[in-house]
């Protein structure tokens, strides 16, 4: 009885030791089956975009980022320096200028002052940073004591004045006045609107 059992075990072991013959098409069949399985959500593009991940930033990269910010600020300051003589203008607009047609943001305005004894007349106001040396706002003598200049003025409400001979401040006699006694010299007001 025992011998018979041992013989059976020996036979089974012999059968198991025989190598299994695998067909060449098995790999392909397995891969086809795998590809038919639904794709796991975490491998989708959207998942990759919205899945939080840890990014390691070296001190060198932080330094480069800081340098970029500093360079941006310095460029802004340089632009501001170049624009000192112009009307208030956000640097963001200097870097990203609007449409080339500037007609919608400013209008050309003629300023006229009768000052027979003047040697020099300039217009200063909110639109040119109150800078009497601004080249675009220097009035020309047209003869007979009439001084005038035509210059662009941004749309909106502005206060302004004439400066005669770099010392005398004169409100525009033809324009609305503003009560501006803060500095003891008169100002005029102008409301520049879009031409329709």
């Amino acid at each position: 009885m025992r011998d018979e059992t041992e013989q059976d075990i020996e036979r089974i072991a012999r059968e198991l030791r025989v190598p299994v013959a695998v067909g060449r098409a098995l790999d392909a069949r397995v891969m086809r089956a795998v590809r038919r399985l639904p794709r796991h959500a975490r491998f989708g593009l959207w998942s990759r975009l919205i899945t939080p991940r840890t990014v390691t930033v070296t001190p060198l990269v932080w330094g480069m980022l800081a340098a970029a910010v500093a360079m941006f600020a310095v460029l802004g300051a340089m632009h501001a320096g170049a624009d000192l003589n112009r009307a208030a203008k956000p640097i963001a607009r200097a870097f990203f200028p609007g449409p080339k047609n500037a007609a919608s943001t400013s209008q050309r305005v003629q300023f006229v002052l009768v000052a027979p004894d003047a040697k020099k007349v300039a217009v200063v106001g909110d639109f040119n940073g109150w800078d009497a040396s601004h080249a675009a706002y220097q009035a020309q003598h047209r003869g007979g004591g009439v001084w005038s200049v035509t210059a662009p003025v941004p749309l909106g409400h502005h206060r302004y004045s004439f400066v005669v001979d770099d010392s005398l401040w004169v409100a525009d006699p033809t324009a609305p006045r503003v009560i501006d006694y803060d500095y003891g010299m008169p100002n005029s007001a102008i409301v520049v609107q879009e031409q329709k």
Partner: protein, 204 residues
């Protein structure tokens, strides 16, 4: 996007404007005045008030050779007046309207009258009516009379070009020797009649 990245982008957007403002002011103001003016401008920015008029006010003071203390007082005063103007006109008011309203308040117009004008103007811009109102007051038209007239003109739907012409006519009348109050009242009456009548364009 991480908080750090958002902060970095915000810094890059905001910093250049702040730099520009500092550059314009620092070129003209002494250090203590610059610090005080910048503090007022920063407060105004936080209160969502237009800051350009404050910078312009400081630049004007520097151009006129005013001392630093005077400049700070003027800038602070304007900031307070713009705050009052914005309270009355509401959050939809444009920076130009706030600036013009602040000028009108400085001329003596009350907040109550400002609210009346706002109501009379409806959704039309108030910048020109406020400029004309301030001019009338400067030319010695009594405040109550000037306010009443401009409110009446606004209520009648008088347009900005007509208002500008009204201002020029009143100024010319006063220059020729007319009583300011009579000149303004007479010209306003004519304008209202024209506006409510045939719709003819006004003429000098």
């Amino acid at each position: 996007m991480s908080v750090a990245a958002r902060a970095l982008i915000a810094l890059m957007l905001v910093a250049p404007q702040a730099v520009a403002q500092d550059a314009r002011l620092s070129a003209r103001l002494d250090k203590p005045t610059l610090v005080a003016v910048n503090a007022i401008v920063d407060s105004a920015r936080l209160a969502k008030l237009p800051t350009a008029p404050l910078v312009d006010k400081a630049l004007e003071g520097a151009a006129k050779g005013s001392d630093g203390q005077n400049i700070v007082v003027a800038v602070r005063q304007l900031s307070m007046q713009m705050g009052s103007a914005k309270r009355v006109l509401g959050t939809s008011a444009t920076p130009d309207e706030i600036k013009a309203a602040a000028t009108a308040l400085a001329a003596g117009v009350s907040e109550r009258d400002l609210a009346r004008l706002r109501s009379a103007s409806g959704k039309r811009p108030m910048t020109m009516p406020l400029a004309v109102l301030t001019d009338l007051i400067v030319r010695d038209v009594p405040i109550a009379t000037a306010t009443g007239l401009v409110v009446q003109l606004a209520r009648s739907g008088v347009k900005d070009p007509e208002l500008a012409l009204f201002q020029r006519n009143v100024r010319a009348d006063i220059d020729r020797g007319a009583d300011p109050s009579v000149a303004a009242t007479t010209r306003a009456r004519g304008l209202v009649l024209r506006s409510s009548g045939s719709g003819n364009k006004p003429s000098e």
